[in-house]
């Protein structure tokens, strides 16, 4: 019995180790250097209803640079250098309901000074210390991860990441200890190293990891493992170029909470073969997974201010998950929860597409033509063709619809049989990313408020003679 428990424990350890990958598991981490860092001033507040807020630094001997960030929207609202008195900063903005944070750093790197911070004319911080080491990180792609390690004794970092336009694109206090970690939502230029407080300043090393490998997760339902592995998707995906663990039985928790960072949001592409319904599918253990529930789904790293995970593409070989609910209106995209929206009170309801680029699936039922007509079921071929098409560099949508075509052809090829209907393929996408292939998974993620955050759908319908 004891031996059994030990064996079981080892097995669980092995399994957990094998399953809990992240998107950088197969990538090399590089050291940028060792740096001394000082405090970045910050101030958090909430807004209950849409209102105008003015934030201003005052009474400083230094030069402030201020950012206003929305934690609710995970985006910078505004930034300012010298809009206030002298070298002070000032931001006035109309804010929607939500939580916000203000960061104040020194314009020059590691030039510590003190200042007051006023919100709507009321002093909220009295002579707080501000500084920050401004580290130029060179030309890097989106999805590059930066983190601080080897912190000096008693120190604690608090870091910001800026893009090439000096806009704030993410921040983090602690990740796996007292160090910080931020993943670039778009091409980064500066990593601002700060301390959590006056008393936690010190030195640290800064490292970065480029997300050079494309990762995917292949999930099966309770009857479809062989359609995901063994003769189909997993076997035909080029494992030499892509990192993956193995085909897994789908579970609801792979798409929620922190677990999704190691599963759905730990990869670029998720492929699911299971039973499905409008905006949902059924996991291997028969639990319904509502993908479009705003609080419950994987949706990319914009749901975190440091963007630790980021799923770009998802393929549902399921019935009706990607249902085009209306061809003549757009409201269903928001009602169903695909598209984020502003509510009447100015607050935001987040949708599934919060970092996602393209979703493909079936508008109709997905019909599996069994061995009564084929030597193998048609979805085996469909999965295989999809993998091959992706490997061949086709766009996500073309790879998907062409896989269906090829499987249909395969069926007709065997019997020359009319009316073999495998289903109507469909796709919902961010318009500028509609034709992306896997090679473009590092393109900028768009979210509500971005000019490129608008949607489209596609569908394949066919007629038999």
């Amino acid at each position: 019995m004891h031996k059994f428990i030990v064996t079981l424990s080892l097995l669980i350890l092995c399994l957990s180790g094998a399953m809990a990958w992240d998107r950088y598991t197969n990538d090399t981490e590089y050291l940028i250097g060792t740096y001394a860092f000082q405090k970045i001033m910050r101030y958090s507040f909430s807004v209950a209803s849409t209102s105008t807020v003015t934030l201003e630094t005052m009474n400083t001997t230094g030069d402030t640079y201020m950012y206003l960030w929305s934690n609710t929207e995970c985006r910078q609202v505004a930034r300012n250098d010298d809009g206030g008195v002298g070298l002070c900063s000032k931001i006035t903005a109309s804010l929607r309901p939500g939580s916000y944070i203000v960061f104040v750093r020194s314009y020059s790197s590691n030039a510590a000074a003190n200042c007051d911070l006023y919100k709507n004319g009321v002093k909220v911080i009295n002579q707080g210390r501000y500084s920050g080491y401004k580290l130029y990180v060179g030309t890097k792609n989106a999805e590059t991860r930066f983190r601080t390690t080897d912190l000096s004794a008693g120190s604690n970092t608090y870091c910001l990441l800026l893009n090439s336009s000096a806009n704030l694109i993410g921040y983090n206090d602690n990740y796996g200890g007292l160090g910080s970690m931020v993943v670039a939502a778009e091409k980064p230029s500066y990593f601002i190293i700060g301390a959590y407080s006056d008393t936690t300043e010190g030195t640290c090393k800064v490292r970065y990891t480029a997300d050079n490998n494309l990762e995917y997760l292949a999930l099966c339902g309770n009857e479809t493992r062989h359609a995901v592995s063994g003769n189909s998707f997993d076997d035909h995906f080029d494992s030499g170029s892509y990192y993956y663990g193995s085909v897994l039985a789908s579970r609801e928790w792979m798409f929620r909470g922190s677990n999704r960072m190691s599963y759905a949001d730990g990869v670029d592409l998720v492929y699911i073969h299971a039973h499905g319904g409008w905006g949902s599918f059924t996991s291997e253990d028969e639990v319904g997974v509502d993908f479009t529930h705003p609080e419950g789904s994987a949706g990319g790293g914009h749901r975190t201010n440091y963007k630790s995970g980021d799923l770009e593409y998802i393929a549902f070989m399921t019935c009706q998950t990607v249902r085009i609910e209306s061809e003549t209106t757009w409201g269903w995209l928001q009602t169903r929860g695909w598209q984020s929206k502003y509510n009447s009170d100015g607050s935001i309801t987040k949708g599934f597409f919060d970092g996602i680029h393209v979703v493909v699936g079936y508008h109709s039922n997905h019909h599996n033509v069994s061995r009564a007509f084929l030597d193998h079921a048609s979805y085996w071929y469909e999965a295989k063709y999809f993998a091959n098409n992706l490997d061949g560099g086709q766009s996500i949508w073309n790879a998907w619809k062409n896989a269906n075509k090829s499987a249909t052809d395969k069926t007709q090829h065997w019997l020359w049989c009319p009316n073999v209907d495998l289903g109507e393929t469909s796709s919902i996408y961010i318009v500028p990313q509609a034709n992306e292939s896997l090679a473009q998974s590092h393109s900028t993620d768009y979210k509500l408020g971005d000019s490129n955050y608008y949607f489209g759908w596609r569908k394949s319908h066919y007629w038999y003679d």
Partner: protein
């Protein structure tokens, strides 16, 4: 547990012989030259991703076509048959029910016409093209006003059509032969095509097909069944195609796995009856073996008509039992 096994036999035999000469009229000579020229121009427009060998194959076909045409015209300067006899079959009655905004009919015609154009000997006597299906790729993108607000207007756009074209010979489908043509919805121009699954005319023997007797095939099958097999076997269907398939069914009617999968080819010296016997001996072995190793008794029956059949045969010989159970 006693398992009732029913064997469903579908025998489909198509036969082949030499291609027949095609005669052309003087009137169409210029037209044919024009077609060839158009083909050359069209090839230049074809997606650069197309494999070079595909282009070469087509060019070879065109060269052969030119030679054949010259040969025929030299031999039969008085030829009256016109290419119009080989018109593409498009049955507009099939178009009912299609939404008005979809130009499916145009796509069907454009694809069929393209096949007729690019394969010079696409149709011979007794042959006809048949559109298997048309797939429309369409959708809509949100539009925004000058202030970036998303408009309610939904402008549905059709991007392309994919047309699958098969071929019939004396009303029977020419199995294992279809072409895929993708048509741009705006211009009705071919944007890509795939002829990898197109069987040339010379592979079909019209004479043998004409003389094939279905009743004789049924009788031969019945003759080959022994008493025990007759208890559990039910020959439900015999048809004339160039493939033989059979499945083992359980008592619920669910197909367990293919009893055999085999393409039929007919040598000119053989009769259809002899061929059927040999193929049936293959079936007999499969039925007699519950393990279903799939190995035919007759090597002749193993003749495979193409690589696709070879792949399928190999798969049926090594069925993954766990997978079959799971499904």
């Amino acid at each position: 547990m006693k398992q009732i096994v029913i064997v469903l036999l579908m025998v489909m035999v198509a036969v082949s012989a030499n291609a027949f000469d095609i005669s052309y009229s003087k009137d169409i000579e210029n037209e044919l030259e024009k077609v060839v020229a158009e083909n050359d121009a069209l090839l230049k427009k074809i997606d650069a991703k197309l494999l070079k060998e595909d282009k070469n194959t087509i060019l070879e076909k065109q060269e052969k076509y030119k030679k054949d045409k010259n040969r025929v015209m030299n031999k039969y300067p008085e030829a009256e048959e016109v290419l119009a006899d080989k018109i593409v079959y498009v049955d507009n009655r099939k178009l009912k029910g299609i939404k008005g905004r979809k130009n499916v009919a145009g796509a069907r015609y454009a694809a069929s016409d393209f096949i007729r154009t690019i394969i010079p000997d696409v149709l011979g006597e007794g042959e006809d093209l048949k559109v298997l299906y048309v797939r429309e790729d369409y959708g809509a993108d949100q539009e925004k006003d000058d202030d970036g607000n998303i408009l309610e207007n939904v402008d549905i756009k059709t991007y392309s059509y994919s047309v699958r074209i098969g071929r019939t010979l004396y009303g029977q489908p020419v199995f294992d032969s279809f072409a895929s043509v993708d048509i741009d919805a705006d211009t009705n121009e071919v944007i890509s095509f795939d002829l990898n699954n197109w069987k040339p005319v010379g592979a079909i023997d019209e004479t043998a097909l004409k003389t094939l007797k279905k009743d004789m095939l049924k009788k031969t099958i019945d003759k080959r069944l022994d008493a025990q097999q007759k208890e559990h076997a039910n020959v439900r269907h015999v048809d004339v195609k160039n493939v033989i398939m059979g499945w083992v069914f359980d008592e619920t009617g669910d197909a367990l796995e293919p009893a055999f999968v085999h393409y039929g080819t007919v040598d000119e010296e053989e009769t259809s009856g002899e061929i059927l016997e040999k193929k049936y001996s293959f079936l007999e072995m499969m039925e007699g073996s519950t393990g279903n190793t799939g190995k035919p008794l007759d090597e002749k029956a193993q003749m495979l008509s193409d690589d696709e059949t070879a792949t399928t045969s190999a798969e049926s010989e090594n069925p993954d039992k766990s997978i079959i159970k799971e499904e």
